[in-house]
Every structure is written in structure tokens, then in C-alpha cells.
Amino acid sequence: MQNFFRVPMRAVLAALLVSATMAAPAWAKQRPGVIEEMQPIQNRGEDTSKRTRFGRAVGQNLGMLGGLAAATGLSNAGHAEAGVIAVPVAAAGGSKVGGVVGEKIAGEGPATRYMVKVRLDGGRVLSTTQLRENVSGLSVGSRVIVDGNGDEARITAE
């Protein structure tokens, strides 16, 4: 009786395992190909490089300190109420201005994204964007694996 139940359960598990193995490529689509073209994207919009983000953060902190110092000065000069109201406004304003100045000083830095055009072995040509760190070491002619599809595709060296 016990064996009777064991066999079908094993069969079910085996069937599930086989179907899962067969279904896997449909979701985790990995396609080999060759890079035909690769270009840094200069039209970066809101994308920011690490260098710019660092500059902005430093600027924001310095700006906030400057704003607080100004508000405290106002308070110490005998305008206690004005000082209380001005502190959060001055800190926020100083942080904003400092962030902009920090960004300017740090500069744009290298492009954050690249356009990568891949001719897949299956024949299709796919152009996609990849973050800079994902394409380091790759160049035109590199053999790659395209993992996933559409704008979720990740490109790695074969």
C-alpha cells in the first residue's frame, strides 16, 4: 500500500522536474552573439555618474552647513523667532544650492550608459542600452551572451 503511493509521487516529482527544466530556457533566455557596435550615450538626461553624485553629495552637505550657519547668525543677532523659522528653510536652500555647485565642480564624468548592438547567432540584430559597469572589457567583435530580452537584457562576455 505504501509503495503504491510512493511510485506515483515520484513520478509526479520527476514530471515536475522535467517540465521545469524544459520551461527554464523560455524565461532565462540566453542567446549568444557578437557585438557589432558600441557607443557611449551622451544624451544622458537624469543619468548621473558616480563622480557627479559624489560632487553633489559633498556640495549638499557643505551648503546645508552654510545655510544653518546663516540662520544661526540671524538668531544670534536678536531675531530669535526669525531664526527658528529660517533654520529649516536655510538648511534646505543651502543644501540645494550646494548640490548644484558640487555637481558643477565635479563635472559630468564618464557616460553612464552604452548603446550596444549585438548580432545574435540566431540572425536577429538587437540594439540595447547597458550600464557602463556591465560592458567594461567588451568591445566591437566580442563574443557575448545576451541574457533576457528587450530592455531587460544583460550582456556579458561569452
Binding site: Q42, N43, I85, G123, S127, T128, N149
Partner: protein, 141 residues
């Protein structure tokens, strides 16, 4: 996660295919100038779209149709939601009295369809601001 995000995309892609099968009916609502700007992409390599249009912040979606071997590059120019600060004042000092949240605004989605070789063959658009938001390619050097 992938399985969940794939399904609506696949459906959107299928709907798009059906819509494109009869050539874009919404094209008639575009100005001749905007239509010319979109038409100027036809025959160009899809990689040019990625270099010339904004791709940050999810502004460009790429979908692949494994049956037709076409790739759909959809650029959207939605205006993100934003918060407006309404200021009050005490004497000469201004302070934030309250905030008004403005929802995101759908402006224009334009889909360029590239063939198996990555060459743009047709396009489709949707949205109230496509007349102004469709951008043509830069002239070839």
C-alpha cells in the same frame, strides 16, 4: 518576478502587433510636420534611436517579437509627477505652507518597429502631445 513582468509586456506586444497590422490609424491626427519627423527614422538603424533619444528613467522600452523577429522600441515622453511647494510668509520670511502633489502626465508614446536586421520599418504613436514630442533623427554626417 521576471515571469510576472513578462506577461503584461507580451500582451502589450501582441496588442501592438495587432494594431500595427492595419497601419497606424492614429497617424491621421498628427501634423504633417510630426509625421515627417517620425517617417525620417524609417530606413535607419535602431541603434541610432538609443544614441539620440533619451533612454534614462525608463523612457525607452524594448520588446522583442520572436515570431516576426521584429523589435519594438517605444519612447515615452511622460512628464513625471511633481510636488509644488506653496509658500506662506511671516514678515519678510517665506516658509512652506503646504504642498500640492501633481500626478504624472502621459504625453506621447512612439513605437519604432525594427526588422530582423535592426532597421526601422514603421512606427506607431499614442498620446495627446505627439505633435510636439516626436523627435526626428539628426542629419547623417
Amino acid at each position: 518576478m521576471n515571469a510576472l513582468s513578462f506577461t503584461p509586456r507580451a500582451m502589450a506586444c501582441a496588442l501592438l502587433c495587432l494594431g500595427l497590422a492595419g497601419t497606424s490609424s492614429a497617424e491621421g491626427t498628427l501634423s504633417a510636420d510630426a509625421k515627417a519627423r517620425a517617417d525620417a527614422w524609417i530606413g535607419r538603424d535602431a541603434s541610432e534611436l538609443l544614441v539620440q533619444l533619451r533612454v534614462d528613467g525608463g523612457r525607452l522600452e524594448i520588446d522583442e517579437d520572436d515570431t516576426s523577429m521584429e523589435t519594438y522600441y517605444t519612447s515615452n515622453t511622460k512628464k513625471p509627477g511633481w510636488t509644488e511647494n506653496v509658500y506662506g510668509s511671516v514678515g519678510d520670511l517665506r516658509y512652506i505652507d503646504h504642498q500640492v502633489k501633481h500626478p504624472p502626465e502621459h504625453r506621447c508614446d512612439i513605437t519604432y518597429v525594427a526588422d530582423r536586421d535592426g532597421i526601422i520599418r514603421r512606427w506607431e504613436h499614442d498620446g495627446p502631445q505627439c505633435d510636439t514630442d516626436i523627435v526626428g533623427p539628426k542629419p547623417r554626417r
